[in-house]
Symmetry: C2
Amino acid sequence: MKQVAIGIDIGGTNTIFGIVDEQGEFISRGSIKTETHPDHTIFLSALCNSVGSLIKESKEKIKIVGIGVGAPNGNYYNGTIEFAPNLNFKGVVPVVDFMRNHFGFEITVLTNDANAAAMGEMIYGGAKGMRDFIMITLGTGVGSGIVVNGEMVYGHDGFAGELGHVIAVPQGRYCGCGRRGCLETYTSANGIKRTVFELLADRLEPSGLRNIGYDDLTAKMIDDAAKRGDVIANRAFDYTGKILGEKLADAVAHTSPEAIFLFGGLAQAGKLIFEPTKRYMEESLLNIYKNKVKLLPSKLPPGDAAILGASALVWKEYQSK
Amino acid sequence: MKQVAIGIDIGGTNTIFGIVDEQGEFISRGSIKTETHPDHTIFLSALCNSVGSLIKESKEKIKIVGIGVGAPNGNYYNGTIEFAPNLNFKGVVPVVDFMRNHFGFEITVLTNDANAAAMGEMIYGGAKGMRDFIMITLGTGVGSGIVVNGEMVYGHDGFAGELGHVIAVPQGRYCGCGRRGCLETYTSANGIKRTVFELLADRLEPSGLRNIGYDDLTAKMIDDAAKRGDVIANRAFDYTGKILGEKLADAVAHTSPEAIFLFGGLAQAGKLIFEPTKRYMEESLLNIYKNKVKLLPSKLPPGDAAILGASALVWKEYQSK
């Protein structure tokens, strides 16, 4: 009988899930739409039914150890999604209570998606055996998961690790959180787009990006343009790396990690983002930290990382029992 | 037989030590000069002899559980003081090895003074029972100790928690660390003095501080002037609180503590520093953290805090055995 975990990633559009063994191998997987369920009770019922079917249909003999869920604004302590701006569900969604009622697994655990990604990296990926590291997710927004002494940092209220919302530029760009200058307004997929538009306004170099509207421009186009040698696109990556490197240097002064992992869309740009980030980070680090902190790409396969992260939460709880 | 710990605080000028019980009561205390010993071996011998005499002379029947040492640039993992700019001793000083050789206590532990202060607060002070908090020491410099999940954050290399050296103002004031804009160039005793000089240069208000030279001005004089209603001095505290509050908001986004404690000379100014720091911190916090994080004065008696912090290291190790 194979021991497995259920990993569930709740996203704004889709919710994906899988049955995963301790080595990170998928037994099976499934998905449902998130956005077509405006009511959270109906959504959670539909989710439990789909997951239940997946379990029943499993051909291998499996023993389920528990369920892990990654979700925006997921709170580990409360087992709830709380006021997630990117989900249809209003207010507080009692995910863990609902699923524990439905399935009865003692290990039913929820956290935010960046924390889940960090846990996935620790259990299955490049952070295996590391006790102190930081995971930075560079997606539509910027998220982070901080691990200290081998444990996830949840903080007093379950909301620790919001490095996307440290202030990178005082009185800088307007952020969806209502403040200004947050890291994610510079180093997310949307942030680099804003940088490109600033550079197009400020500078004179010709650029293939000059004929694309703001709403049409994507981080992928900037990546492609940079690889073609577009000066504006390359400058945008350099500036993104500068802001990110500087704030990572501050993060190091907090928890002094062995490594910082970059994950998500922008991290896919490889050397374009890693090279300037590393360079500016090293320039910005306090002497005692210089040349000590590895800056690494996540080793999780991008498509499966969210489910792996969620299922990793289960193994982590299981190990500490 | 009373169980006691030896607490030692190594400072640039003096080294003070005491025998302390589990409730933080002193059995006895002593001190030697640090600065008169340019060689660390001679210093450590003298220190061990003085501490040894204190133990022998104790009138109460005591059982010593271990020795804790707080020192600038103290590294918990290595048990060494490493390249401390404020001490006479060059290079790496093997404090723990030396003292363990001399006294033979298995629990012989060293960390930096701000971490020791945090530990003191957790064992004897206002952080009793807290699992997530930050201690900020506002002295000649700015130090910090971060506690997460009830454990000190030492980081990968033993040097975590250098919040005095996060960048408060990009390209700001020159710092002793060789970089610019570090928090401690604004919010240390020296930092507020620099702020006063900026304000005196910038503004027109009369001030009792206009007839004092830079080298003569102390944080205490600024405190006194502010209490007399001096406009420049009051503005200096407000600005100090602004910078500190903003950076504490960033620190909260890392580890989401239950409380932040302020300790040291500037914290003695009470409402003058607490009020603006709290106000600007709340203004700067991401929504999910607002009105959750307590800003508290240390409950350790200022004169004894360093020895208490060092001895607290011993109880912490003892508890986790």
